[in-house]
């Protein structure tokens, strides 16, 4: 397609009064535009009509709109089939800089040149759709979470392969005597009802169940996963489009708890053992088989303890309340004692707590257990101080129950057994105590393996009711990713993006940076180390593009060359003019909107900075830094999201990788006796807009101390 460029400059919102529009207009033809037009209200009906007409009558297919931020009027300036570049003259120029000032005008002119040079190099992208796609969902784990994910996926019309390690479905829920109430009034225990759920699965022709089976391997990509299932009858292969990880939890090993008499006294058991007794019909003293009348529960037996499980297991308070009800139901004269640190029955389960409190036979108190001994009759004697009664308590009970916590199945095993270059498991789970959780509060299904979604107790300690909801959400994500694969588009956070990275492999030196650094494990390698793309695993962040020293990775509308041309389009004044120039690579997700906010608040900052929005700071290729320096640019800023354990980067590792690469560049500059302070990375959250003027000013002051780029003018 031949690019035919139209440049449209809006003079509304004060742009026309603050800038020399004639000069800006003249830049159109100078930069190859077939059409240049100005309008005082470009986003209005008549303004956008002008562009529509030029598309129709003049064959304009490459459009530069100089006006407001692309974050507004996105629906107005939407021209399918054309390339569109928005130049932010309003928020980033006139609202943040002195009107009718030479520097402000130079800024606007640079942005015009930069935008035009970028869009001229862009091409329209066609989605990349792989062949032989399948839409079935693999669910690993046949407990309540996995069964729910399977049923909910099937109800939406998708086939399911369900793999369960044990010889029957049900998981821990199948081992329960009763479950917590699922709904208001949250007062009465319910039958778990696992049989009915299993029957539903057995009768659903769209759900294929493998029991006594484990996932041996998962290879491929969303829409095209090849799964090897190890069954008792040998390996079976299945093709699926996505994966729900629902392998749940294991009880914490109570033998590691040395202070509660477990393993020492016969009548000390865990909450899991108590559940088993209740399910078998009778809660008894293991020492003599007599029914247990008085039972004590110790909460946080290992949880909230840095020696054991540093986290809270969320459900144990509720479980002990439930089990206290078992004790009372077995014998109306029985007594249950619950000793806790904090009674954690958040949300509506407070009503369940209330129901237990209403039973005088259930005695609840905060307290610290000081001693556990055994008397001559094998009773367990529990001593507790710091109680709500003020005085220490000593009780002799038939049975002591330790409310032990949950350990995620992913803590020790990869389970997924991904055949990925970056390894078989979900990465970074140590950030979440081994749980397969997301780092994002707003996006709890984000994992670093596209098409793999975790749910239930493998993700975080949670109740059955929460696990069911979580499983339903994971099923939606699993369905969504196969639908995206069918259209050749990205999933979150660049949902709908139909670009994908193309590799010019003839020039690849097999350095493996791209295959190592992709946060999503998109790239595999052949035996020589050449990257093997898997487009459906790709999130289109461009981190591979930033990593590649040979610059062979590019998107149709985003490449080293496209952004490099924007850098080269900056007019760098001579040293004598004393107008330093700074290029700022700005994360388009958070830092860019922060600059918009600065504009909306009319915060003023130094006009010598030229912003280049990037998909992610991780997509910044160090060649841009070299290009900038050799072009006489005095300083370079990389402004992106916070990194570290609580990272805010939407591509997980982007800003951290950018920082790592930058440190390498800085070392090189120091070796060459060039001032590495010329290049700095700043972490800026979306709501940090008030800091923008000062961080830029501080940087400019530092540049002033360093002096101009010695390459200027060469």
């Amino acid at each position: 397609m031949e690019n035919k460029l139209g440049v449209y400059i809006c003079t509304g919102c004060g742009i026309g009064e603050a800038l020399d529009i004639e000069k800006l207009t003249a830049m159109g033809p100078q930069n190859g535009a077939a059409v240049v037009k100005t309008h005082e209200f470009l986003c209005g009906e008549k303004g956008s009509q002008i562009i529509q007409e030029d598309i129709k009558d003049e064959g304009i297919n490459t459009i530069v709109i100089a006006g407001c931020s692309p974050r507004v009027n996105f629906d107005v300036f939407d021209y399918p089939g054309s390339l569109v570049e928005r130049i932010n003259l309003r928020e980033h120029v006139i609202w943040s800089h002195t009107p009718n000032d030479e520097d402000t005008q130079m800024l606007a002119e640079d942005y015009m040149r930069m935008g035009i040079s970028k869009v001229k190099k862009m091409e329209l992208s066609e989605p990349h759709i792989e062949e032989d796609l399948t839409k079935a969902v693999l669910v690993i784990g046949g407990g309540i979470t996995g069964m729910t994910a399977a049923i909910e996926s099937a109800k939406a019309g998708y086939g399911v392969v369900l793999v369960e390690k044990e010889d029957k479905l049900g998981g821990f829920m199948g081992k329960l005597h009763k479950k917590l109430p699922m709904q208001y009034p949250y007062a009465k225990l319910e039958d778990p009802g696992v049989e009915a759920i299993v029957a539903k699965i057995d009768n659903d022709p769209d759900i294929k169940v493998y029991t006594s089976a484990e996932v041996g391997a998962i290879a491929g990509q969303p829409g095209q996963f090849d799964v090897t299932i190890n069954t008792s009858g040998g390996a079976v292969n299945a093709k699926v489009g996505s994966v729900v990880l629902a392998t749940g939890w294991k009880p914490y090993d109570a033998t590691k708890l040395d202070t509660y008499g477990y393993g020492e006294f016969a009548n000390v058991v865990t909450n899991v053992q108590l559940e088993e007794m209740a399910k078998n019909g009778k809660i008894v003293r293991p020492s003599d088989g007599r029914p247990a009348k008085n039972v004590a529960f110790i909460q946080c037996a290992g949880q909230r303890d840095p020696e054991h499980l540093s986290y809270c297991s969320s459900v144990c308070c509720l479980t002990s309340l439930k089990q206290a009800m078992y004790v009372r139901q077995q014998d109306k004269n029985a007594k249950a004692y619950i000793f806790y640190k904090d009674m954690r029955t958040p949300g509506s389960y407070e009503l369940f707590y209330k129901a237990a409190q209403d039973d005088a036979g259930i005695f609840l108190t905060k307290g610290n257990v000081t001693s556990i001994t055994e008397d001559g009759a094998a009773n367990v004697v529990v001593e507790v101080n710091d109680t709500l009664l003020g005085a220490p308590i000593k009780v002799a009970v038939d049975l002591l129950v330790l409310a032990t916590g949950m350990v995620p199945t992913t803590a020790d095993e990869p389970i997924l057994n991904l055949q990925y270059r970056q390894g078989p498991a979900l990465p970074d789970l140590e950030l979440y105590n081994g749980f397969a959780d997301s780092n994002f509060i707003c996006f709890p299904y984000e994992t670093r393996r596209t098409g793999v979604y975790s749910a239930g107790a493998v993700k975080m300690p949670q109740t059955i009711a929460e696990s069911i909801e979580d499983a339903t959400g994971a099923a939606l994500k699993a369905i969504q990713v196969v639908e995206a694969a069918a259209k050749g588009i990205a999933v979150h956070p660049r949902a709908g993006d139909n670009t994908y990275p193309e590799f010019f492999l003839q020039r690849c030196t097999q350095c493996k940076r791209c295959t190592e650094e992709c946060p999503f494990g998109t790239l595999d390698e052949d035996e020589k180390g050449t990257p093997q793309p898997n487009p459906n695993r790709c999130r289109r962040c461009g981190i591979c593009m930033g990593a590649c020293p040979e610059r062979i990775i590019s998107f149709k509308n985003y490449s080293v060359d496209i952004l490099g041309s924007a850098i080269k389009a900056i007019d760098v004044p001579d040293e004598e003019e004393e107008k330093p120039r700074v290029v700022a690579f700005v994360c388009e997700n958070d830092a860019y909107p922060a600059f918009d906010m600065a504009g909306i608040n009319r915060l003023q900052y130094n006009p010598n900075v030229r912003m280049i929005p990037v998909r992610c700071l991780g997509s910044v290729n160090t060649v841009w830094i070299a290009d900038s320096l050799s072009g006489g640019i005095d300083g370079i800023l990389l402004i992106g999201c916070k990194y570290g354990d609580d990272y805010q980067c939407h591509f997980a590792k982007g800003s951290e990788l950018a920082n790592y690469r930058l440190e390498k560049v800085q070392e090189t500059l120091d070796r060459l006796a060039l001032e590495s302070d010329r290049i700095q990375l700043m972490q800026l959250a979306i709501n940090d807009y008030d800091k923008i003027p000062s961080i830029i000013e501080e940087f400019m002051e530092r540049l002033d101390e360093i002096g101009p780029n010695p390459y200027k003018g060469f």
Binding site: E466, L476, A495, G496
Partner: protein
């Protein structure tokens, strides 16, 4: 293979739950209408300064969700809109929606000229009345859509019309009338969320009587850069920095006379807010009065972090009363101290009531055949397809649990429309 998918979903409420249901369904291939009663999307989370436990800004995730809407034409949204009627059956509902007049049309460029011209001030409800805006205003800086709105109660109308004069874009129509629109959908998701529990019902805790008693949501606005004090936490009485602050947990929650449930988030919210104060005032001393510290799951780590701060003291006990200290203008908090024994009476510069969440449906029922519990929460009937409730409309939860639920609700809504 799945059947060919068609169908449209109505999502009522444009907070984090509604937005999530909408974008997740749209990105799976379904059309969605979002009906939001306020002038912009984002709901309660837009008013929060930071999320626990990451202490990250909620606008970060909202911005991504808005980007997803910008890029996806399947999501249509109406603000200042309320669902009036829902008739029909699963897969085939007729919906009518009332659009309240914004008095600012789609010509608005958000240039702000109208605000400069407007002579009338109104209390800013986004900041719980702690500051004012003009009668024509942008709901807040991160508002989506980025469009101004006129408060019809404050605006003097045609007799003034200074904004009309100031607007170059014909964007203001003081005579805009309410409108009713109708469309068809296959399923409905209520993501109607929550309101802060009305603290004026907590007179015993000094709210409305002692000037330096505020709610936790007011604290969020104080701490937020786009709040009434540009992010500075101050005593309302004199605008000075507080040196001692009491947090009062379960202010209305876990209380038969107010909200019988636990509001789930208030312990974590107060722990989070103690970091706001400690960051601004390194010498400030904080006392948290609580019944149980509820930091479930891995939130425990955040609790540990605050517990390690020697300027934060925890007292287990319910606060019995708060009165203004006539000498200092501060507050006198009287509470049980269960572990220490007896009653404590302590003076603070300021008290923050950790008020809970009340479902919006406690006050106003929805135009659908739904059951509610004693607190006004929607009780979902698992055997009744077509109409669903999600997030805090169903029970009090934190953001991440709401988002999970909202994602699942998108699937339930989709299932209704799939003919197998």
């Amino acid at each position: 293979m799945p059947a060919e998918k068609t169908g449209t979903i109505l999502v009522v409420g444009g907070g984090i739950s509604g937005l999530t249901t909408a974008v997740e369904a749209a990105e799976t291939g379904y059309d969605v209408y979002v009906v939001e009663k306020g002038p912009s999307m984002g709901g309660r989370v837009a008013q929060l300064n930071k999320y626990f436990p990451k202490l990250c800004p909620p606008t970060c995730g909202l911005e991504i969700n808005y980007q997803r809407i910008r890029k996806n034409q399947r999501v249509k949204y109406y603000t200042l809109a309320e669902v009036e009627t829902i008739t029909g059956q699963p897969g085939d509902y007729d919906i009518t929606v009332k659009l309240h007049p914004r008095r600012v049309n789609e010509n608005c460029t958000a240039c702000n000229a109208c605000v400069d011209a407007c002579p009338v001030e109104r209390p800013n409800d986004f900041n719980f009345g702690m500051d004012t805006t003009k009668a024509i205003y942008l709901p807040h800086q991160m508002a989506f859509p980025m469009r101004y709105v006129i408060d019809e109660k404050a605006c003097k109308g045609g007799e003034c019309a200074k904004c009309v004069e100031a607007c170059k874009y014909d964007a203001i129509d003081l005579n805009m009338e309410p409108e009713t629109i109708s469309f068809k959908v296959g399923s409905v998701v209520f993501a109607t969320g929550w309101d802060p529990y009305d603290a004026s019902k907590l007179g015993i805790l000094g709210y409305g009587k002692a000037k330096n008693v505020i709610t936790n949501m007011m604290m969020e606005r104080y701490a937020a850069l786009n709040g009434p004090t540009q992010g500075k936490i101050v005593k309302p009485s004199d605008g000075e920095a507080p040196q001692t602050v009491a947090f009062v947990q379960c202010a209305g929650s876990r209380d038969e006379n107010h909200l019988s449930y636990c509001s789930y988030i208030c312990c974590m919210a107060s722990l989070k807010q103690s970091t706001y104060i400690r960051e601004q005032y390194p010498d400030a001393k904080i006392t948290i009065f609580y019944i149980d510290l509820r930091a479930p799951g891995r939130y425990e780590k955040f609790l540990n972090k605050i517990e390690a701060d020697e300027n934060v003291t925890f007292i287990k006990g319910k606060v019995a009363s708060i009165i203004e200290d006539p000498e200092t203008g501060g507050v006198i908090v009287k509470a049980e101290d269960i572990m220490g024994g007896g009653i404590v009476e302590q003076k603070f510069d300021m008290a923050v009531l950790a008020t809970g969440m009340q479902p919006t449906t406690a006050e106003k029922k929805l135009p659908a055949d739904l059951k509610y519990d004693e607190n006004g929460l929607i009780i979902e009937d698992p055997n009744k397809p077509g109409i669903y409730a999600t997030g805090c409309a169903k029970r009090p939860v934190d953001v991440t649990t709401s988002v999970k639920d909202a994602t699942g609700s998108a699937l339930k809504a989709i299932q209704t429309m799939v003919r197998r």
